[in-house]
């Protein structure tokens, strides 16, 4: 069983690699993860080292991407930021996936009351913007990575549930689930063995795109001051510290902007590649 699972992962990666967009996405993601790991042990400059004589410096040998307004090395902060964003993306995928599955499970439950209540609640909550959720969470918890993950997970989890519901319904009301239930299977069995595998395609695509959106959300929320705490490296942090002087020192904004764009595009393309690979039935 174990080796079969690993085999399927490799087959999936190969199917993605065959597509141009999938290849780009895998390369960017690979780089992202590699940089995040490297940054744990090494960055070109220590994060807290500031060079007061060279603020807003142009790229040089010592500072490949220049420095920001405090004289800190932009490359080092971006490298360190990549791990924060990676953590946010991964946690968002896990938490919004869990919330989404929970909601889908309730929506397709055989208790009509529970199902319709969940549908109504999801429809009502889905209209609340991510920013508003983050603002509400900041009140008790203060700005932190947790707030970003929480806000994204709630917003994307609701969205996921709404998007996955039709295919989940199809599976949950299918003849094969009915046979299983008639054969004595529990609702939990039917959900985990039949429904979840059948919504996996939608889930994978949607969660991949959510990971990308979490990068954007982090940047936006940090700019608004409800994102990562002060002093925590992140791409959003790099953006927001440099964006005020965009007219004077545009280059400093370009680097984090570029990184965010690359990552978001990569995750979106990965979602597309998953989608088309699954359409063709090679996953």
């Amino acid at each position: 069983m174990e080796s079969e699972g690993i085999g399927r992962v490799f087959a999936a990666l190969r199917a993605l690699w065959r597509r141009g967009s999938g290849r780009y996405a895998l390369i960017v993601l690979g780089l992202w993860i590699a940089v995040a790991i490297v940054s744990l042990f090494w960055t070109p400059q220590p994060l807290l080292a500031t060079d007061g004589y060279h603020v807003w410096a142009q790229p040089s040998a010592a500072h490949p991407l220049g420095t920001d307004g405090t004289g800190a090395d932009v490359l080092s902060w971006l490298m360190a930021g990549s791990r924060t964003n990676l953590v946010i993306a991964v946690l968002t995928v896990i938490c919004s996936g869990a919330l989404g599955l929970l909601l889908v499970g309730l929506m397709v439950s055989r208790s009509a009351g529970l199902a319709s209540t969940t549908v109504a609640v999801v429809d009502a909550l889905i209209s609340i913007p991510t920013v508003l959720i983050a603002l509400l969470l900041t009140v008790p918890f203060g700005a932190s990575v947790g707030v970003i993950v929480g806000a994204c997970s709630i917003a994307y989890g609701l969205n996921l549930a709404r998007i996955a519901r039709p295919s989940a319904m199809l599976a949950a009301r299918s003849d094969y689930v009915e046979s299983a239930l008639a054969g004595g299977a529990s609702g939990w069995y039917a959900f985990t063995r039949h429904v979840v595998p059948n919504i996996m395609p939608v889930l994978t695509v949607q969660l991949t795109i959510s990971a990308g959106t979490s990068v954007l959300a982090e940047a936006g929320l940090t700019y608004l001051g409800v994102g990562v705490g002060a002093g925590v490296p992140s791409w959003g942090h790099s953006l927001s510290t440099s964006v005020k002087l965009i007219n004077v020192f545009p280059l400093t904004v370009v680097w984090p902007g570029l990184v965010v764009t690359l990552a978001v595009v990569a995750l979106n393309l990965l979602g597309d590649a998953f989608n088309s690979a699954m359409d063709e039935g090679s996953l």
Binding site: A171, S174, D175, Y176, E178, S179, A180, A182, G183, G184, A185, Y189, H194, P197, N198, M200, G281
Partner: protein, 268 residues
């Protein structure tokens, strides 16, 4: 009252949007003995699927009772499914289902082996270790052969890699794998080509020969199919039983107008 599975005085209605409720079964009774094949026939909207689903405990009735081996399955006020009753639990593990559309009745992401083995795994209960893999393979292979399929590489195929006829025979293998005492086949041939229908017919006939004690309830609007399989026929029309009896008598000398129409339409 020695019938294996019997339904008596079943009444059932469904809510219709904006128009109250529509009654689909009016005081209908039916029964099937061990080893017998009962055909429930009628047009669409006759209530034949609803009746048989209530008999198998898949749906509740408004009133009436269903008993399996003498214990109630559907009973009491409001004709509810007696979920905790012995009859209901026994029926769950001793019945098999075959549906109209074979592709809808097999999980598209499951290989044939896993789909066919599912009833065995479920019957094994929580301790899935009860059934060894070798034993599963053997039972699944045997069921597939009975349904007219050669196991071989069939075991690892997914439904999309099967033809309609193969998929329906896999679904039949799934229904019989746990040696049920009663099988419900709800229009098992309507969705399939005429040439393939013959294969399904042969598979069902072979199963009846191999398992002489198993009861088969077949729902159909196709008398041609029914005459080869059934011992007894129950003709439903607009929720009423218009005729019932041995297959030869009903088809040979239909009494009701509706049955006569059916017989006329089914002749070449």
């Amino acid at each position: 009252m020695n019938a294996l599975l019997s339904a008596s005085h079943i009444v059932k209605s469904f809510p219709v949007a904006g128009r109250g409720r529509q009654q689909v079964l009016f005081d209908v009774s039916a029964s099937v003995d061990a080893g017998e094949c009962l055909a429930v026939i009628g047009g669409s909207g006759s209530g034949k699927s609803t009746l048989t689903r209530i008999m198998l405990g898949l749906e509740t009735a408004d009133s009436g009772t269903v008993t399996y081996e003498g214990s109630p399955v559907v009973a009491g006020r409001g004709g509810r499914i007696a979920g905790s009753s012995e009859g209901f639990r026994a029926l769950r593990h001793e019945s098999g289902l075959v549906f109209q559309n074979p592709f809808a009745s097999l999980d598209p992401r499951w290989a044939v082996f896993r789909s066919v083995a599912e009833p065995l795994v479920l019957a094994g209960g929580a301790g899935r270790g009860n059934v060894s893999r070798a034993e599963l393979v053997e039972k699944v292979s045997k069921a597939l052969r009975t349904a007219g399929l050669e196991p071989g590489d069939m075991l690892s195929r997914r439904p999309r890699e099967l033809s309609g006829g193969q998929a329906q025979r896999v679904a039949i293998a799934r229904a019989i794998v746990a040696s049920p005492k009663v099988i419900l086949a709800d229009e098992p041939m309507s969705a399939i080509d005429v040439t393939v229908r013959v294969q399904i017919l042969d598979a069902l006939a072979a199963i009846r020969a191999e398992r002489p004690d198993m009861a088969l309830i077949i729902v159909s609007h196709d008398l041609g199919v029914v005459q080869h399989l059934a011992d007894r026929i129950l003709v439903l029309h607009n929720g009423h039983v218009v005729e019932s009896g041995p297959v030869g008598a009903v088809l040979g000398h239909p009494q009701a107008d509706y049955t006569r129409d059916l017989v006329a339409a089914a002749s070449l």
